[in-house]
């Protein structure tokens, strides 16, 4: 495959961008759409003290759950951890600090980070102490809104169906979920893809994430975990 933009690389090369203590944002929803090969490479590198940002904590042996369950993160920003009891235990034991954000607010905070906006204003969770806490309140036409700050990460990892050498991405069905948002919010964005196709093979109109947001493309070995329903 021609690599005119130098974005196509391999897992080994791309792991040089990962370090202990980093903030890493991951695409996926209950493990669906979370990049399996990058997750395994993170585990191989035995990264520590990570801050993870994404929709949920996966399942103990699925998606980001594999990283969380191994105690590799000490902080997680997510909408729920209900599907990963190990994450719950780590939290209860004080080994994992979890910031819960309502799911749509979290998606919008990631999107805000990705589109270069400092924060969003929303009334979701306005009257809920655990969400509103001591967050700043902003009045628009006398209506109060919570200031929910944007989220970005040093590295974003996403999972896509296809990429071309520029990093234009298309996703597979509901495996799209948070991936297009996460792809925009990384200082470095790495796309793990099921297939790399030549430039011109993707219809311009079908591209969901323009390659502008993608720094590196790595081929995937595919999902290697057993789903909860299997």
């Amino acid at each position: 495959m021609d690599n005119p933009f130098g974005k196509i690389t391999d897992i080994k090369q791309v792991m040089e961008h990962f370090d202990n203590g980093m903030t890493i944002m991951f695409g996926g929803f209950g493990g669906v759409g979370t990049p399996p090969s990058l997750i395994d490479a993170m585990i191989m590198k035995d990264l520590r003290q990570l801050t993870l940002i994404g929709n949920d904590a996966g399942f103990p042996q699925i998606g980001i759950g594999k990283v969380v369950s191994r105690g590799m993160a000490d902080r997680l920003i997510a909408s729920h951890i209900g599907s990963n009891p190990i994450a719950g235990k780590l939290m209860t034991d004080g080994k994992l600090s979890v910031e819960f954000s309502p799911q749509g607010t979290l998606a919008e905070r990631i999107r805000a980070g990705g589109v270069g906006i400092a924060a969003i204003l929303t009334d979701i969770g306005m009257d809920n102490e655990m969400v509103a806490g001591d967050k700043q309140i902003c009045y628009i036409d006398e209506t109060p809104y919570l200031v929910e700050t944007a989220l970005t990460a040093e590295v974003s990892i996403v999972y896509a169906k296809k990429a071309d050498p520029f990093g234009n991405l298309v996703y597979d069905k509901s495996a799209r979920n948070t991936n297009p948002l996460v792809a925009m919010a990384g200082d470095i964005t790495i796309a793990e893809v099921e297939e790399i196709v030549p430039l011109g093979d993707l219809q311009p109109g079908e591209i969901i994430t323009p390659g502008v947001f993608v720094d590196y493309i790595v081929p995937s070995v595919g999902v290697n975990w057993k789903w909860a329903w299997q």
């Binding site: 929803f29 209950g30 669906v32 729920h80 749509g104 919008e108 979701i124 809920n128």
Partner: protein, 222 residues
Amino acid sequence: MGMAITIRNQIAKRAAAEIRTGMVVNLGIGIPSMIPNHLAEDVHVMFHAENGIVGMGASPIPGEEDENLCNAGGLPVTIIEGASYCDSAIAFAMIRRGKVDITILGALQVSGKGDLANWIVPGKKIPGMGGAMELAQKTQKVIVVMGHTDSKGQPKILQQCTLPLTSKSCVDMIITDMAVFDVRREGLVLREYFDGCTIETIKRLTGCQFTISDQVRVIPKE
């Protein structure tokens, strides 16, 4: 939840009767996931999932599951003609903009004012709110389906919820294994109850006052 499957189906069937053609509907896990089985064939709706599907269909037949086509609970689904995929931000845009007509979800407690508690048990379970707050706060009609009492026989419909709230004054209708209530500004109104229950029993097992609709109806048992 320890309720028998026939009772869960009875609740699901009653909830299904609230769904009309053309609606966009979001279903929670548990009893709500049984509701599509009870829809009449001529009712055409779009089922919405927070992970970015509008137009979910039946469960796939075993062996034909697609790991990249799952609902918000992580279970494989299919899609119907006219379905679409979107990212999570757009899935929640639909909710916040009021484009989702009905959400049907489970609850730990509901108050007579329609306050909903369904996300946290202090000291026991802190799973996080997921998308429940957006759904509760912004969906046009919020229907709670649940057992009338908890596993210890204590009322789950209360004057005031004792568990942390998901959202205040958001529930429009409560369907339990005993009764159907509308939540109105002035409080709960009993509009239906299942055959075999009595209003006296419902009063005894409900933790707040309610009025009885003058058109109160008994739902016949299957």
